[in-house]
């Protein structure tokens, strides 16, 4: 059964400064319980803001390190979920359920990618 990485992209500029609402946290908790009970979730976590992140880059044989925030990107990875699903359609269905627990003012994208095995 293939594994899928769902990269949760958020727009840091429009994300609520006070963070997720308690209601959202509650709904998210319920959903995480459901997906774990389905034997699907292998690992998931949210990430701290890119302001606290660094980019380490290799280009033209040179290393460079850039401090966050990474304002040139509209959406940044704000979390991830590693799931084991029957197929891409199931992974996408779980991603939809994840997105639907958010309130309307959120802009969130789940980029779901199959992990190359072997």
């Amino acid at each position: 059964m293939p594994r899928y990485l769902s990269m949760v992209r958020i727009d840091e500029k429009t994300a609520p400064a006070e963070g997720p609402s308690p209601e959202l946290m509650q709904r998210m908790g319920d959903l995480l319980e459901e997906i774990t009970k389905a034997g699907v979730m292998l690992d998931t976590a949210g990430l701290t803001p890119t302001a606290q992140g660094k980019r380490v880059r290799w280009e033209g044989g040179e290393l460079s390190v850039t401090d966050g925030p990474f304002t040139e990107t509209k959406e940044v990875v704000g979390g991830y979920a590693l799931m084991q699903c029957k197929d891409m359609a199931e992974a996408v269905e779980w991603a939809k359920r994840f997105l639907k627990v958010h309130e309307e003012h959120w802009t969130v994208t789940c980029e779901v990618r199959e992990i190359m095995e072997g």
Binding site: T36, A38, L82, K86, A89, E90, K96, L99, E117
Partner: protein, 442 residues
Amino acid sequence: MTPQPTADPTPPPDSDPTPDSDSDPGTAIDSDPGTAIETVFRMESPRLIAGVARIVRDVGIAEELAQDALVAALEQWPRDGVPDNPGAWLMATAKRRAIDLVRRRERYARKLAEVGRDLEAAGPYLDQPSDPDDIDDDLLRLVFTACHPVLSAEARIALTLRLLGGLTTPEIARAFLAPEATIAQRIVRAKRTLAAKAVAFEVPDGPDREARLDSVLEVIYLIFNEGYAATAGDDLLRPALCEDALRLARVLAQLMPKEPEVHGLVALLELQASRAATRTGPAGEPVLLKDQDRRRWNRLLIARGFTALGRATATGAPGPYALQAAIAACHVQAYTYEETDWSRIATLYALLATRSPSPVVELNRAVAVSMADGPAPALEIVDRLAAEPALRDYHLLPSVRGDLLRRLGRTEEARAQFVRAAGLARNERERALLLTRAEEGD
């Protein structure tokens, strides 16, 4: 039902506007509601069947009613949109049909009274998810029913994969390299047997519970091994069976978090699965543990295995699955084959032999003892096993014996053992390996 927002046909602003573009990934899946419905149905079907079976008390009828709910979704969702909570919609539809069925049958009049009370207590179903705790209870009942000892082991495996793993009959047939008709018949007969023997849809209490849980764990373990033993190219589909078993075990651990052996089984399967990719070479040939590329062992599964093992051992003396998991843990903890803690493995095998004695466990213990303390004490164990009827045709007994004799310098005796082992091996590759070993070491 309100259509879900993602079904909105308006293309996202940055999508390719050319009309002949058929590669827009943003709408490809949603443009086919059939795929979405089938996916949701497959994900929800174990819970649907379990929820309905509690009402109709028959897994065969429950499965049919769940299928009816799918047909209703296929009719309505493309027209009205996918409901906000598709799982609850399917469950409500299936349960309504179940209640209709019960009502239609007069001979179920007495049950109707019970069901009616349940319904009133539960309130209106529609647009409201079922209580997760109820679903958990129903799912557990379904697990214990599908794994009922009144069925043969083969029937239990097929029924569990079908009802709980969500596998289709052709998928199960492919996994077991059996004709589809055979599997279909096995499943039909299993459902009939459960009905004919009036097997209660329940999780047993008291002393029955442990015995029945053993059967449940065994079924999952057998499914895993069916996939794990496969090495040949023809069997490429079977590793999927390992994943199905692992998923079932993970589900069971969530349903029965207080049962240490359930966590023990999860730990064992996670740790075994972490090595799966390195067990065969490029041509599909088996790669022995000592030759496996340990850098390619799956760290995430190892970590999950250790977590589950911790849960299993936190609540008392480890059972057989937890002990086997602890042995697997010793292997994955070693950076090299030589660094393996063989005396700990030998101790764990000794514990396992007390908990669930078996000649195969003894043979494995002998191998661990030979690594920890040398070939002489190991040979004593193996010689005691020579009379064991269960191992008479087991090629690994002479193979291990040959290895120990060779290490003791008894070359001629060793050669005879390897030749004997080759004669017993059923797998061509193994036979070839053993014949090579017979020629070595002079």
